[in-house]
């Protein structure tokens, strides 16, 4: 009997895991907190994830010095966005407490989180719609709920360029100068030509790291220049025949048949090792990725990595917002804090501290001269700023992340041999249908 009990207890864990959310939703009452400290200051909690840089840039102390009646609390610095932050914030918003006064939100979670209007305060009520002119239109627009509430302000943008190994390019007989390369792959046909040259040279490395990052970049470009349609529309209907999906996936299929795509799944151990070992020659890089590459490749590779403008119009990856949940006890003060944290000066302070690129015009201008010594003194500020300036407005629908995951899984399967060029579209279709069925409702 003892054994059986123990066993049942353990088996119940699986169910408990699923039940935690429900429990926290039931137990999470508002503990009578009116959002003030004992000495009567207004307490504002900022819920953060990853490296937003506010801790490193010392912004809490700065804000409190200027606002003696405010106590800023920064929470969650460094936690994982997908695995920890997003589910916790979803639960907190649902429960009606615990979501903080200002909440950081990554681009990939924005549509999902803003879908529920009631969760968010309308910052336009406090006169912040005047900030529209500080931002590129798309960055500003994405901070709104479908119903038109201004829910938050943009922090950084993941403007993009291409990281490339100049030593491998030299070995393959390709130009190593970043301006020459930018010209050579000014459009996507040029990019394919460069890829073909690299493959034909027989250098013992893959041209591209993996299928997914490049596909994502191309998807955004084509959608932005055309009708804006990507995987799935706002009603949850799949739009896999959209120009953006067709072009981006077919380009990957073509590059894969060429033998230009490596099997280094982003963030895998192999991907990390390959950056030091020279396993692949090119990788799409948002601004904040440069620090990642430098860390992975190490000082031994200083000068081997370089950074050039990306093919096509421009690209974008990531970028975050600061939102003000409606459950905040002091929405007006919270809005003021969020506006201050996303003002150009603070965006530059964050850029200098940890690397995310300023999303405001003024902030981007202030860092335009920045060069990165690890990447052969590449003018990173200039390249990223140019890619952001042209970036078209994209609307990410609520089901976009789910379908994106399914498509990217299938593309990884194409490269690892699970699928072939012939059945990749079937795989994409059926996996996307599953994703819509599961995430849709």
């Amino acid at each position: 009997m003892h054994l059986l009990n123990k066993h049942r207890g353990k088996a119940a864990l699986a169910a408990i895991a699923a039940g935690t959310l429900a429990l926290s939703a039931c137990g999470g009452d508002d503990s009578g907190d009116d959002g003030t400290t004992e000495d009567g200051k207004i307490q504002l909690t900022v819920q953060m994830f990853g490296k937003l840089g506010y801790v490193e840039a010392g912004l809490e102390e700065k804000y409190e010095a200027d606002h003696p009646n405010i106590d800023v609390v920064l929470e969650g610095d460094g936690i994982n966005f997908n695995d920890d932050f997003l589910p916790a914030m979803e639960a907190a918003l649902q429960a009606g407490s615990g979501a903080g006064d200002v909440m950081g939100m990554d681009e990939q979670g924005m549509a999902q989180m803003l879908a529920n209007e009631d969760y968010w305060a309308d910052l336009a009520e406090y006169g912040y719609d005047s900030r529209a002119e500080e931002y590129p239109a798309w960055k500003w627009d994405l901070g709104h709920t479908p119903g038109g509430k201004l829910a938050g302000f943009g922090t950084d943008v993941g403007g993009m360029g291409m990281c490339y190994r100049s030593d491998l390019f030299a070995e393959a007989g390709l130009p190593t100068n970043r301006d020459e390369l930018a010209t050579a792959w000014a459009d996507w046909d040029g990019f394919k030509t460069v890829a073909q040259t690299f493959v034909d040279s027989g250098v013992d490395a893959d041209f591209l790291d993996s299928p997914t990052q490049l596909q994502n970049m191309l998807l955004g470009q084509v959608a932005g220049q055309g009708d804006g349609q990507m995987y799935v529309d706002a009603e949850g209907n799949l739009t896999l025949d959209s120009e953006a999906v067709q072009t981006s996936v077919n380009t990957i299929v073509e590059l894969n048949e060429m033998g230009a795509i490596g099997n280094f799944v982003s963030w895998s151990e192999e991907w990390i090792a390959a950056q030091a070992e020279g396993g692949f020659a090119v990788m799409p890089c948002p601004a904040w990725m440069l620090g990642v590459v430098e860390g992975n490749a190490g000082p031994d590779n200083a000068g081997n990595w370089d950074f050039a403008a990306a093919p096509g119009v421009s690209g974008n990856w990531g970028g975050s917002w600061l939102l003000v949940p409606a459950q905040s006890a002091h929405p007006e003060e919270a809005a003021e804090l969020a506006a201050w944290l996303t003002a150009p000066e603070q965006q530059v302070a964050v850029f200098e501290a940890v690397g995310p690129f300023p999303s405001t015009f003024e902030g981007a201008e202030m860092v335009a001269d920045y060069t990165n010594p690890y990447f052969n003194d590449a003018p990173v500020g200039e390249i990223i700023a140019a890619s952001v300036a042209d970036f078209p407005s994209l609307e990410y629908t609520e089901l976009h992340p789910a379908v994106k995951g399914a498509v990217e899984g299938a593309l990884n399967g194409l490269v690892d041999g699970t699928y072939t060029s012939d059945n990749i579209w079937d795989a994409i279709q059926s996996d996307s249908e599953d994703a819509v069925a599961l995430g849709g409702m």
Partner: protein, 315 residues
């Protein structure tokens, strides 16, 4: 009269004392175990019941409303969502690949450790070392060892002219890699349990067998193994439950994603369960997956019990 009243009073007092005594004997133990069961009711039973309720609803963590859908969630998982049935196959496959060699090796290692050895304690401690290493660290190291381009295993196979294998691309290969991780971590634990049990086997049995001319192999199979029967059942149970709930090792093998390979080659049922909740916010479906997993574990544990009991019973 008085005597009658007195007797009644003493009688009553005696019954009260009796009852107190009885309660002390029979009731108090229940009070002592109550905290566990109360906590279990709150954090174990209640969520389980609540999960049943959730599994019968279309319930998204991203939307306010829930609609009753009966068994639709179960139907979708079993008949439409290919990854789910495959995840059960994957879990069972990895369980078999990991557990059988693990328990056999653990038994042999325990037997070796039970012999007179120099620095006996050191050996016993070393066998346990993998358990105290963090599973995440083990995952990261093993993901490197089984890597396609820079992995140690492929490097070794390369010496014999074998092309680099992408261990994550096929079911058999990814299962092997993950089984190696599980075995590395849990072999020592099981060996230690076996070792502890071996030390309780009376020496006289071996001495008598030795006098009768039984060699050490015969002693092992005819004395050690039958004597270990309850412990073997216990470890099989624990390994079954652990194996069916396998999660961190395959997750770390795919760099922390819940997908388990490009087509779910090594996606376990626990991973599907979490994926449904985290990636899709689908609480109802995730709850249904949890219950299906629970049923599979119960069936398997029952089967296990029968099989192990039968095999050992014949000895």
């Amino acid at each position: 009269m008085t005597t009658a009243v007195d007797t009644a009073r003493t009688h009553r007092r005696r019954t009260f004392r009796n009852r107190l005594h009885q309660f002390d004997l029979k009731g108090v133990p229940y009070l002592f175990v109550a905290p566990f069961f109360l906590l279990f009711a709150v954090f174990g039973l209640f969520p389980m019941g609540y999960t049943v309720y959730a599994s019968l609803h279309e319930w998204s963590t991203r939307k306010p409303d829930q609609t009753f859908v009966g068994l639709d969630n179960y139907k979708f998982l079993l008949f439409e969502y290919e990854r789910f049935p495959w995840s059960i196959v994957n879990t069972l496959g990895m369980f078999v690949l990991a557990t059988i060699p693990q328990l056999i090796v653990a038994l042999l290692v325990a037997n070796a450790l039970n012999k007179r050895l120099r620095a006996q304690l050191t050996w016993r401690m070393l066998v346990l070392a993998p358990i105290v290493t963090s599973v995440v660290a083990v995952g990261v190291v093993f993901a490197r060892i089984w890597g396609q381009e820079y992995g140690m295993i492929n490097g070794f196979l390369g010496l014999f002219g074998v092309d680099n294998i992408n261990w994550q691309a096929e079911r058999w290969s990814s299962w092997t890699a993950i089984a190696s991780m599980v075995d590395w971590r849990w072999m020592g634990y099981n060996a230690l349990i076996f070792l502890a049990a071996m030390q309780t086997i009376p020496k006289q049995l071996y001495e008598a067998a030795a006098i009768d001319g039984a060699n050490s192999r015969q002693q092992f199979w005819n004395i050690t193994v039958p004597q270990l029967k309850p412990v073997i059942i216990f470890t099989t149970f624990i390994s079954t439950v652990g194996g069916m709930m396998l999660f961190v090792e395959p997750m770390m093998f795919s760099s922390g994603s819940f997908d388990g390979g490009s087509n779910g080659q090594f996606q376990t049922t626990s991973m599907v369960l979490i994926d449904l909740l985290r990636t899709y916010g689908n609480y109802g479906m995730s709850a249904a997956a949890g219950w299906l997993l629970f049923i599979v574990i119960v069936l398997l544990a029952g089967l296990n019990f029968l099989v192990v009991n039968r095999i050992q019973g014949n000895k």
